[in-house]
Subunit: 105 residues, 2 copies
DNA sequence: CAAACATGCAACCACATGGTTGCATGTTTT
DNA sequence: AAAACATGCAACCATGTGGTTGCATGTTTG
């Protein structure tokens, strides 16, 4: 996984509106854009742009169905983000351990 | 933890340069700004701005020491980010499980 | 004290972002 | 066929972001 792709995922999650969208999608079934736009406090087209950002980062996928478009969470992106943080934490813990061993010598 | 604070953490991680900084900090000891600015391909002041973004999101802490300033990773922020994703994934998995049980009926 | 060093601050610039409005287009429903 | 619906596209605007340069300030070192 490239740094850039990971950064894009975090960037996509780095906005309250988009975070709210992702949260609602993790909750239940895939929603269509209209439903998803509600309760965000912005216009439908505003919401559309945010959804597009999520699509570009591959955090979400679009599935056209008739006159509406379903929006579905892509759990793989979440996992990649989490894995990246986990790897950082592992390095961090390892460093702390080495420090501990050094001081105990 | 507020949505906004979490969003700020992800936003801070949502840039290749800042991601690289965080990675270097997770690796070893706290570095001072000058060292940290090297190998980023941008000017010292450019790097300083990125570090400030990490400070604002509390991903990193500054510790002045004489004429230099040490930059140290704050693992708590990483954990908060990871926990948030984990919670999303838990909801997601639960939904998949419910769907599975439904189809098996 | 003077030179070198590490950093801070402010102004500036180009471009990205988050939002809006207006209108067009394809799809159901009646 | 007409009305209602869900969405798309483009233009526009204010503000934020990522970067630069120049200069000022405090701290070591010689």
């Amino acid at each position: 996984m490239s740094q850039a792709a990971i950064a894009q995922i975090f960037k996509a999650l780095g906005d309250p509106v988009r975070l709210q969208i992702v949260q609602r999608l993790s909750n239940g079934t895939a929603l269509c854009m209209g439903e998803l736009s509600k309760d965000l406090g912005i216009s439908r087209q505003g919401a559309r742009k945010q959804i597009q950002a999520l699509v570009s980062a591959k955090v979400v996928q679009l599935h056209p169905a008739g006159r509406e478009v379903k929006v579905q969470l892509d759990a793989a992106a979440l996992q990649q983000g989490r894995d990246f943080i986990t790897a950082l934490e592992a390095q961090w813990d390892q460093r702390l351990l080495a420090l501990k061993q050094f001081t105990e010598q």
